[in-house]
């Protein structure tokens, strides 16, 4: 009896403590620092003056900053949606391929991401620019008479975002789909359900954890991802990532930057919470 309890403790300790300790030491404590300076002020020479005030937060209550937040979140939302729409069939088909090919295909999806992201975006720019390869080709086969202005547009930004975040959507989706108990879909088909009905009533709900995980892994980083809109979109929009970066690198107003980050974290958590609640009502969500 005594022995059993002891064993239980060790297992629990070995499995819980590494994560818990790491998060507290490397995430919680630095976060406290950020919260503290968000209430501080910028001195005339750009240093931090620790006098408590809410000005950093009240400055944010203006149409200018609301728009920045809104633009960033809507871009993240659309990117996530597109990644999901294109990623789900892809993950689904890979899960249906012969078993020994699946891992290779998945790794082939990730391997491009082991090369530098900046270079890959430059690759896209070469493809999409007015005198770029795609235009040259389309002109050559006389499909168009004038080059299409593809680069420096919202569309180009979306291409870049989806491109950059694709594996973050596909991998969780794949894991969820592959794990699904095939006998359930077979049973429903045996009972006469059409392919689509089977998909919507069985496959989709069962793979919801993957959808949620993938959506979060794409949505969250994309709120702050600003170098893609800068490169592919020509930097003509101010997003929250640019704004925060400017506070540290241009205005040297760290307190404001910290406050913006806290609000950004808060808004993102709120959105995730709302989404999980909405989806969680329909399925038994155990992802988080």
């Amino acid at each position: 009896m005594f022995k059993k309890i002891k064993k239980l403790d060790i297992f629990k300790i070995v499995f819980i403590y590494p994560l818990a300790l790491w998060m507290v030491i490397f995430v919680a404590i630095p976060l406290i620092y950020i919260i503290v300076i968000s209430f501080a002020q910028r001195s005339a020479s750009g240093e931090i003056v620790y006098s408590f005030n809410l000005r950093n937060y009240t400055t944010m209550i203006s149409p200018l900053y609301f728009k920045v937040f809104f633009d960033s979140i809507s871009l993240a939302f659309v990117s996530t949606l597109l990644a999901l729409l294109f990623g789900y069939p892809f993950a689904y088909f890979i899960a249906k391929v012969k078993k020994r090919w699946r891992v290779i295909l998945l790794l082939l999806v990730v391997i491009p991401f082991w090369t530098n992201s900046l270079i890959r975006i430059y690759g896209w720019m070469i493809l999409l620019r007015t005198e770029g390869i795609i235009n040259h080709f389309l002109l050559a086969i006389k499909l168009i008479h004038e080059p299409i202005k593809m680069l420096y547009s919202y569309g180009a930004v979306l291409v870049g975002m989806v491109y950059m975040l694709f594996p973050f959507m596909v991998l969780p989706l794949y894991n969820s789909i592959e794990k699904m108990d095939k006998s359930l879909t077979e049973a429903s088909k045996d009972l006469g359900a059409s392919r689509w009905k089977c998909f919507f009533t069985i496959t989709l709900p069962l793979t919801m954890p993957g959808i949620v995980a993938g959506s979060i892994l794409v949505f969250v980083p994309s709120i702050g991802l600003f170098f893609i809109p800068d490169l592919m979109g020509g930097g003509t929009v101010m997003l929250i990532g640019n704004l925060i970066r400017n506070q540290f690198l241009q205005a040297r107003n760290w307190p404001f930057g910290a406050a913006l980050s806290i609000v950004m974290i808060f808004v993102a958590l709120l959105l995730i919470g709302v989404a999980t609640k909405l989806l969680g009502k329909k399925v038994d969500l155990e992802v988080f």
């Binding site: 819980i16 994560l19 088909f93 020994r100 090369t115 894991n175 988080f288």
Partner: protein, 260 residues
């Protein structure tokens, strides 16, 4: 009949997506042979950049650093992320919600903020900036990715097999090793693959917590922007790509050999 159409469509769709993923890479490889320094015009074929790359000590060292850091952080974060995911899935304990929240916050936090706060943190602790601080930072932002992927894999896990094993007298660690682990392995592998990718590509955090001797590849590349990216970097990416593809194919052929 419907099955066949779907099969053809699925192959076509996958091909389309892979083209989408690899087309820019293809361009990068081609431009690594571009005689002109700029990435705009094609002026002629040359192997000069590859030569320059092999002679460029700074780039090679930066690459080595990035690889060391990526390997280390991937392994450590995979271990912590996996054990943590299993624990959070199985147990309820005080502070569980807090840890969950911190994991989310870690993904949401803008890199620049994380970089700045870690910079001050390590500075206050009087730590010397270098590979060690870099590995600590990278592990921190990689953990949530492994965690989420493993946890998603665990969702809806049929625990009856585990319970049966326990009932039959197997210890908890044994059960984990023989039952749980193989089932979540795909999640761990995909988490590790993503973690490696993120770590290898990181710029902002790297900058803040590196030291004079620990420049990493992405820092070097971003810092080169002021003078225009040299096709040397294209050459580097091409070489790395070839090596990874080679390793992948080699491991697969070993696997196939084993099966036969």
């Amino acid at each position: 009949m419907g099955n066949r159409i779907i099969k053809i469509f699925s192959k076509f769709y996958m091909l389309l997506i892979f083209t989408f993923l690899y087309f820019p890479i293809f361009i990068i490889v081609i431009y690594s042979f571009n005689a002109s320094k700029s990435n705009v015009l094609w002026t002629g074929f040359t192997m000069d950049w590859y030569k320059k790359l092999l002679e460029d000590e700074n780039v090679i060292i930066a690459l080595q650093n990035s690889l060391k850091i990526a390997f280390s952080s991937t392994i450590i974060s995979s271990i912590i992320g996996t054990t943590g995911a299993v624990a959070m899935y199985k147990y309820n304990f005080r502070g569980k919600k807090g840890i969950d929240l911190l994991l989310y916050i870690q993904i949401i936090i803008p890199e620049i903020i994380m970089g700045v706060s870690l910079l001050n943190y390590f500075s206050v602790l009087n730590m010397e900036f270098g590979l060690f601080t870099l590995i600590l930072a990278h592990t921190t932002f990689c953990i949530p990715f492994v965690y989420i992927l493993v946890k998603a894999r665990l969702a809806g896990f049929n625990s009856s097999i585990e319970e049966a094993a326990l009932d039959l007298g197997a210890g908890k660690f044994t059960v984990f090793r023989t039952v749980t682990f193989p089932l979540i392995l795909p999640g761990i592998i995909s988490g590790a693959a993503l973690a490696f990718a993120i770590s290898f590509d990181d710029v902002i955090i790297n900058f803040f917590v590196s030291g004079p001797e620990s420049t990493t590849l992405p820092i070097k590349i971003f810092s080169m922007l002021r003078f225009g990216l040299s096709p040397e970097i294209n050459a580097l990416c091409s070489i790395m790509l070839i090596i990874t593809l080679f390793v992948l194919m080699a491991s697969q052929s070993i696997r196939i050999k084993k099966q036969n």
